[in-house]
Structure formats: C-alpha cells, structure tokens
C-alpha cells in the first residue's frame, strides 16, 4: 500500500491513505491485489460534466481539477462511471489523479514495479477537443497565479 501513502502525500502534503486517489483492492482473501486509479479516459466524463469548466487537461495530459474554479457541486462524482473522482469535505472541492505533473509517485514507490507509467498517443479526434481544454487549463493557471 506504499502507493496509497505516496499518493496522499502528493495530493495533500500528509500521509493519509483516505485522501489517496489510487486505491488497492484485495482479492481472493488477500492472495492478490489490484491497484485502481483514474484511466484519464479521453472524453473525460468528469470534465465534460463540470458546469463551470473547472476540469481541464494539464500539460501532461491529465484531467485535472482547477481549485479556483471548482464549487464542489459533486456532479463530476456522479458523472464519472469509474468512481475515480473524489470530494474533500474540508476544502469542499473535487480531487482526482493528476499524474503528479508527469512523474507519478505511486509508480516511483511501488516496490514490485506493479505500476508503470507510459506516455501514449491520443486518438486523432481529440485534436480540437483536447486543444481547447488544454488552452483553458493554461489560461486558468495563469489567471490563478496573477490573482495570488
């Protein structure tokens, strides 16, 4: 469960597996285990569902939540059919796997190399769909940096 610890540290700055966005499930009475996290599905159910466009595409291709824009309405949590977008009742924001900006901590700490990180080509149709959402991510990051 090292991945859960590392993930929660990246997400929150503290070691709280309850705030991890990768979760390990035991099977067959703990004889096997499966780590489970966001697939970064191309159309992004969470991203298209967000009513204020608070989820966009980060430079490493992750669907990422922009905290300044998220109002905490939870629509993304019912839109995502994979159960991989979460809600933090303290911040009242949604949170999810953002691939740690391109070097996922879960991969680095896994002692058995059971988690791999590979960059994959995206399909052609994603061109303008992804470009607009990537641009929005950059603009929102810039606006957020200026506001701070």
């Amino acid at each position: 469960m090292r991945c859960e610890l590392a993930c929660s540290y990246m997400q929150t700055g503290t070691f709280q597996p309850a705030r991890s966005v990768i979760r390990v499930s035991p099977f067959e009475a703990h004889t096997s285990y499966a780590p489970y996290t966001c697939t970064q599905c191309a159309e992004g159910w969470c991203m298209t569902a967000c009513p204020v466009e608070a989820i966009s595409i980060s430079p490493v291709g992750a669907k990422a939540v922009l905290d300044d824009l998220c109002v905490g309405c939870k629509l993304c949590t019912i839109a995502c059919p994979y159960g991989t977008i979460f809600y933090n009742p303290e911040t009242r924001k949604a949170f999810k796997c953002d691939l740690c900006g391109g070097s996922p901590a879960c991969v680095e700490v896994c002692p058995t190399a059971a988690i791999e990180y590979e960059e994959a080509e995206t399909a052609d149709w994603l061109g303008s769909f992804a470009a607009e959402r990537s641009a929005r991510h950059r603009e929102a990051q810039l606006a957020g940096a200026e506001a701070r």
Binding site: S25, A42, E43, P81, Y82, G83, F129
Partner: protein, 438 residues
Amino acid sequence: MATRHVIVGGGTAGLNAILAIREHDRGASEVVLVSAERPYSRMVLPYYLGRGIAEAHVFTASPARLAQLNVRTHLGRRAVGLDAAAGKLSLDDGTVVEYDDLLIATGSSAVRPAVPGADGPGVHSFWTLEQARGVVAGIREGTHVVMVGAGFIAFTILNAILALKARLSIVEIAPRILPRMVDATGARMVETWLARHGVAVRTGATLTAIEEAGGHRRLRFREGDDLAADLVIMATGIRTNLEWVNGSGVRVNRGVLVDEHLRSSVQNVYAAGDVAEGRDLVTGEPAVHAIEPTAMEHGRVAGANMAGRDVAYRGSLLMNIVEVCHLDIASFGAWEDPAAEACAAERPERFAYRKLLWRGDRLTGAMILGMADDIWTTNDVGMLKGLTQAGNGLGAWKAHLSRNPFDVKSAFIASGTTARLLPQTILGRPSLPAGLVP
C-alpha cells in the same frame, strides 16, 4: 454557402451543442445563439446563494468566448414562433432568423401551485439567476425561511440557507420528503438527519394560502397550524418552455420527441436537455430527464450531428446527487422500479444506506446515502453509476453485491466493468488506444 445553425437557449444543452459543433467544424459554419438570458450555470446558483462564490462565477460563456467561437448572438431575446416548413424562427423583437438546422434547448421554468398569495411579495422561486438574486437579497442571519416543497431543487439550496444562519422550515405535500429521489427508508433517514441539524420538516401538508401580515408571511394549510415566515421559497416543480414551438409541426409529448440522433419529428430540428423526450438508457423508453448531465450529453450529441457527424446516442441515465450537512444522497437509473428485484442494507453506525435494483443479473438502479467524508461513499457513488451505465450482466457478482451492497469496488473491478465502459463515450469514440484497454 456555409451551413446556418441556430441554437435556441443558452443553458447547458445549448452551449454544449455549440462546443461540439466547433470541435467538428472549427468555425466553418454559421452559428447563431438566441438566449433570453446571458449564459450561466444553474447548477452553481446554490453556491452563489451561500456566498461561496461571487455572482461573476456563474457565467459560462462571456461575450469574448462566444466571439472566439464565432457565434453570433441575440441575447435578451426570446423565440416566439417556429415555422419549420420555411426554416424560420421569429423572435420577440420581430426579428426573423433563417436556419438550415435548429436546436430547441429552451429548458424549463419553475411553477407554483395555484393558491392565493403564491405570487405575492416575499414569495420566491429559485430557478433562474434573476430569481436567485431575489433570494440572495432577502436572506440574512435569523431570517425565517419556509421552503415549500422537499424535492431535489429544494435540497440543493438547504446548505446555502443554513450557511447564512437563517432559520429553515420545510413543508411538503407528499407524505415524505424527496419522493422522486429516495425510497421511504432513505426519506426517514434524511428527515432524522435534518432534525439533528435544526431543520423542521412537515410532510403531508397541503398549502392553501399565503397571507401578508405586517411585512411577514403567514402560510395556511388544509390541516394543522399556520406557519409564519419572513421569506417563502416555492420549490414546487418545473415545466418545459415549449409554448413557442406550438403549431410548428414538431411533435411534442411530455417534451419534444427525439430519436437517437436527438432529431425531432422534423428532419432539421433537434432538441436537447429539459425540453427533450429521448431514450432512457436503462429502460429504453422515451423519458424527460430534466437534469444537468442529460442536458450536457444531449447538447454534445445534437451538436455533433448538426455538424455532420453520425452519432447515435445510447440514452440518458437518470441520476441525482445532493449533499445536506455532509450527508450525501444519490440515486441512479430505475431506482424505483416496482418490477425489479431489490436488495438493501443499512449501516446505522455510519449513517449509511444502500439499495440495489436488478433485472436478471443486470444492475438497473441504485440508491446510496452516506457521509460525505466516508471515502466509500464517493467511491461507490461513481462505481454504482458505472455498473448501471455499463448494463452488463454481473453473473456471480450479483449474489455478492446482494449480500453486501457495501462492497461495490470488488464487484466493479472483478467483473471487468472498466473495460466495458471505456468504449462507451458520449460521442461514441474510443476512450483509449486499442492496445491500452485494461
């Protein structure tokens, strides 16, 4: 000549149609938006009411964004007539807009019961931005608010009203609260929860009049005591905005009847969102799902088809989630189906409740109540949506889930649901490159 698309309605359905059109044609066609209001998101109005966000945060498409998308606008104008045979739309200022294809996405409006005083001073609806402004101006610390109606819309603003330290009472005509979102067990749990948080709930209460008494409101009921209020919110339902379509030849039942391409009975007229009656994903029957996710999906599919793609929509999944004082309440699909096989379990120590509904070994509906800070609540909310949406038989995992509706994750992963869901995108395009599907 470039194709002329006209979008009537600037809400979620209309804006998603515009985005989908532009994703496909990159600005080549003409797009005209007719919207009575400047586009904003209804979903976030409760957060504006609770002062969590500024009013500016509710707007979804600024004039600059619409210009960037090469959209011409008639803002502040309403459609008043549709001549589908001639391809002409009339607006309330006398303008006639010609189109090659048109999207009906005029949404719905709040309705109030026909009782004396229901339109009087201090009585509000909470549906449009303008109405939200009225409620925002009327509530401060100590204001006694009476909410008439205990459905989904009422529940979306309970947290905001409580955050403003107002006193809140809820009255509901039905024998229980949230009649279209949870079953009797769920309703009883939510009522207990509300009582713990100081919210008075009165069910089976038929409002007969709202009287004005020295700047306050007095609500009268068929039975029982009167209720005094400073401000009344009527959360008593919505109706579709379709008067302007009358006589156009477009077939309307409960909403505009649409096929799997979101086309109406008129070939070049589409409908999306609250006004559309399209396929229900679970039952396969026509249904009006006046919810945000359906508006988004309808809008994207209609837009893609208007832009010349051939996208068949699988249908919309009924779903709702609302949080009250950190209690999450969610339901999916045919959660109320009397012909389904149902299994339910309660965990009183966690204030949690689950109900799963089956047709054969297929999960067709689900209901979930649980604390928002219980990680298994949000995890399972998503996975139950996924299992209902995927629609595949779960075989032996049905028995497992029926015995323990709290162990959703094992069933989800072991039944290979992720791989089944990945090809099921809204616009029917593969979600991951072929070699990467787990």
